[in-house]
Assembly symmetry: C2
Homo-oligomer: 122 residues x 2
């Protein structure tokens, strides 16, 4: 796959893909005869995964660290698991913040509706 195809398939820009490679978040893919990046299919799964880590608030430095552990092979399984467990806790705490705030939004929206009706009736 060429870089533009990966961009299309993932929603990342071509520039972001090269940037991710530069910082070590994506393994440098092999090149074709013209020197162009030639990605394998498996990169799509990886990009989706780091996208999920991103969307759930993992810092870039940590994603890079995870990527490097992954690239280093089986000896880093424990370290990777520990990172995921830490992130899992971060997600749990975000979930509870979001749930609290969702309840607050519901409450405020109802209050505002009520106030809007009262003002209308003046």
């Amino acid at each position: 796959m060429r870089i533009s195809e990966v961009a299309n398939a993932t929603g990342l820009s071509v520039d972001t893909l090269r940037f991710y490679e530069k910082i070590g978040l994506i393994e440098p893919p092999p090149r074709d005869d013209a020197g162009r990046r030639d990605y394998g299919e498996e990169v799509l799964k990886w990009i989706r995964f780091i996208g999920q880590l991103n969307a759930t608030g993992m810092k870039q430095a940590d994603r890079v660290r995870y990527a490097q552990l992954r690239a280093a092979g089986d000896s880093t399984l424990k370290a990777r698991r520990e990172m995921l467990e830490t992130h899992r806790e971060a997600i749990r705490s975000q979930l509870s913040t979001l749930q609290d705030t969702l309840a607050l939004m519901d409450q405020k929206v109802n209050l505002y509706r009520k106030l809007e009706r009262e003002i209308e009736h003046v």
Copy 2:
């Protein structure tokens, strides 16, 4: 209340409080005889609220817009309610991303534990 007390009570820094005032997120409080900011208690509630909007991903520009509507009084009730409803939807979508990713973390952690055991037994 003086600015350092507000900082202490909210966890924001003194600089951030002044910055929030500069961009219109906090109403300029009255000053004492020496020209120092003299905050009322109600600012704490407001800061906690904007902190929740922040923690749930509302952009600064939108929080400022909400603050300005609030400062403008009752005629903006509808606009504020609509902002909160929009944000409520954003929260719902974040919740589902987080839940999906939490499930994925659980799955991966279990897989990693399994692999660690297998490698240990070699």
